[in-house]
């Protein structure tokens, strides 16, 4: 019989699987499945969302018949499966629930469309349904060879900034994935902030997503890859239920539709947690305007890459600190020409405004304020990562916090805003502050006035 792992694409649900069951009185029943999941060579998992006839039948009579269809060539396989058990927690359940929740939150169906359990079935038999199929499209390329190139390039990186950019460049060059970003988990563990991106009109560096929000946030919260391969269909499916729910007057709990960051016409999305040493560091996110762009194989690849990315990022975050003390640099005179730039620091959330333009907040804001304070007071323009890490004025949430990522974020924001202050790397573990205008620092202790220019959506709240 055909191997299950070789036909796992058929379990994507892009052409919904059909399932026949039989009640104890001998009445057959058919259902379409909204979600099925490849577990391993001998097992599939089906979503249990409602107590319906299918559910009642398999509890009475555990055998079921499935027809699954390959999304690309329409080849069909018929399986005899036997219900084993229902999982209501653990990695598989979290993965399926997260995928379902991602679909739900995308269309405002959170709380209505939810997974009650992952039903695990043993696969007893697989037969190919006779019929003509066209040859599947040729593989884009040898994915293992491409993965090897990426792994070698990542292993050669010596700093976090370069590592992140290399990873995204590799995804484009080796896998033809053009819209990518890396988000890091903030110190509070409640939000993710964008630290690198590729392929978008604006970099979006500093943009935030709450844990649990959208595909990226759910992947981070649940610590499991989330892949949606056929956005049009998944969305349509949710909307069908939503219409039915609205008609039945069952509307409590519907949330405002959350627009997904990134591509406006995103049809394929894959968010993979970046984990290392048992910790979540962030999320690697890729998307495409093409249907069915990311397969199980792509997910395998990205999980592998994210693993290496996480281990290297962790190493570089700490290994980037130089052991030598900073050479005491000769104080530079502050610029005296031109109108002074007014830099406001709001202690409430460490937000920084330059001439009333919002720049950044949180830890990165605190870092910049510290650098500028030292620059104005003592003419210092050279700093080491090491001293920043232990500076009591910078409230890093904990010693293992990702200082390097904050610095990348800060540097990129200064560049994106073309600010009069710029921060450059000056050798490993050192930073060079460049100031183009005279500075006037204003430290604001009281709360942010509500009449402030509105913060953009990407900087609305939280501490990056």
């Amino acid at each position: 019989m055909p191997r299950l792992d070789l036909i796992r694409e058929c379990l994507e649900g892009t052409i919904p699987a059909m399932m026949a069951t039989c009640a104890s009185d001998g009445t057959p029943n058919i259902a379409y499945l909204s979600q099925s999941e490849f577990v391993d060579e001998r097992h599939v998992a089906l979503s249990y969302q409602f107590f319906n006839t299918t559910r009642r039948n398999v509890l009475e009579n555990p055998h079921a018949r499935l027809i699954v269809t390959h999304p690309l060539n329409g080849e069909r396989f018929r399986m005899l499966i036997r219900y084993l058990r229902t999982e209501t927690d653990g990695p598989l359940f979290e993965r399926m629930r997260a995928k379902l929740a991602g679909i739900a939150s995308h269309t405002g169906m959170s709380g209505v469309f939810r997974l009650l359990g992952s039903d695990i079935y043993e696969v007893l038999d697989i037969e190919r349904v006779p019929g003509q199929v066209a040859a599947p499209p040729a593989p884009r390329r040898n994915l293992l060879a491409a993965l090897r190139v990426c792994v070698e390039r990542l292993a050669a990186c010596t700093e976090l900034d370069g590592l992140l950019n290399t990873a995204l460049h590799c995804l484009e060059a080796q896998f033809d994935i053009h819209h990518t970003m890396v988000l890091m988990l903030d110190g509070s563990g409640t939000r993710l902030y964008t630290v690198a991106s590729r392929g978008y009109e604006t970099s979006g560096i500093g943009a935030e997503i709450a844990l649990g929000q959208g595909v990226i946030g759910v992947a981070a919260r649940e610590g499991t890859p989330i892949r949606i391969g056929h956005m049009t269909l998944d969305t349509a499916y949710s909307r069908a239920i939503r219409a039915a729910t609205l008609e039945s007057g069952f509307t409590d709990g519907l949330e405002t539709e959350i627009p997904l960051p990134g591509l406006p016409e995103s049809r394929s999305q894959l968010a993979v947690p970046i984990k290392t040493c048992g910790r979540l560091l962030g999320v690697l996110y890729v998307e495409s305007a093409q249907d069915l762009r990311f397969s199980y194989d792509d997910e395998d690849l990205l999980v592998t890459l994210a693993g290496q990315l996480g281990a290297a990022a962790m190493q570089l975050n700490h290994g980037g600190d130089t052991a030598e003390p900073v050479e005491s640099s000769v104080p530079l005179p502050a610029p005296t020409s031109g109108p002074p730039a007014v830099i406001r620091h709001y202690a409430e959330n460490d937000s920084i405004f330059i001439d009333d333009d919002y720049l950044i907040k949180g830890v990165a804001g605190s870092i910049l304020w510290t650098l500028l304070t030292d620059f104005v007071a003592r003419g210092r323009h050279s700093f080491s990562n090491r001293e920043l890490r232990v500076d009591p004025r910078i409230c890093l949430p904990d010693v293992s916090d990702n200082l390097e990522a904050r610095l990348i974020l800060l540097r990129r924001r200064l560049i994106d805003r073309d600010a009069c202050v710029q921060l450059d790397k000056a050798g490993r573990g050192h930073l060079q502050l460049t100031v183009r205008r005279p500075l006037q620092l204003v430290d604001v202790i009281e709360n942010l006035p509500h009449t402030r220019p509105p913060l953009t959506a990407s900087t609305a709240s939280g501490r990056p």
């Binding site: 059909m18 009185d25 057959p28 058919i30 379409y32 060539n73 069908a240």
Partner: protein
């Protein structure tokens, strides 16, 4: 449970139009030892009084289903429209195997074209959609039965509720 054949046609004119359109058609049966079986139909026709459904299937793709029909005549059939997810299930207990009649081969061809026309705008490739409903025309046989029960199976809270005459 009451298994009396209804005195009214369970399939109203609107449902008749729906099941004759570009819908996915699945047939479920069960064996003598209660193993469920499943196949896909490639078209259907309804008797003029709307009381009897004739489902066109491929013999070679449906061997177990045909064995089951010969054994116990229990049947479930689901019609589902991919673009709207509107789904209806009919069940009956008097299914039997019949031969095709004049026009059935054309009916299969028209059904396939309509089905492919429904799937392609949803983003499926035409060759994948065609493969899903592919079979040899000279291999087509008919399963006929009188629906006794109808259920709404459009996804959502109303799924699984029985449909009466005129209900959608």
């Amino acid at each position: 449970m009451d298994h009396q054949t209804p005195t009214y046609p369970l399939i109203d004119p609107d449902a008749a139009l729906f099941i004759s359109g570009a819908v996915s058609i699945s047939i479920g049966t069960r064996s003598a030892d209660m193993l469920p079986n499943l196949t896909r139909a490639v078209g259907c026709r309804l008797s003029p009084d709307r009381s009897r459904l004739h489902l066109l299937i491929s013999r070679e793709q449906s061997a177990a289903v045909l064995t089951d029909i010969a054994d116990n005549r229990e049947i479930a059939v689901v019609f589902s429209q991919p673009s709207t997810h509107r789904t209806v299930q009919y069940k009956g207990r008097d299914a039997r195997i019949e031969t095709t009649v004049d026009g059935d081969h054309d009916r299969v061809r028209r059904y396939r074209d309509a089905f492919v026309g429904e799937l392609v705008p949803l983003g499926y490739s035409e060759h994948a959609a065609r493969a899903v409903v592919d079979c040899r025309l000279d291999d087509v046989v008919v399963i006929a039965f009188s629906p006794e029960k109808a259920f709404n199976q459009t996804p959502g809270p109303q799924a699984g509720l029985p449909l009466g005459p005129g209900a959608r």
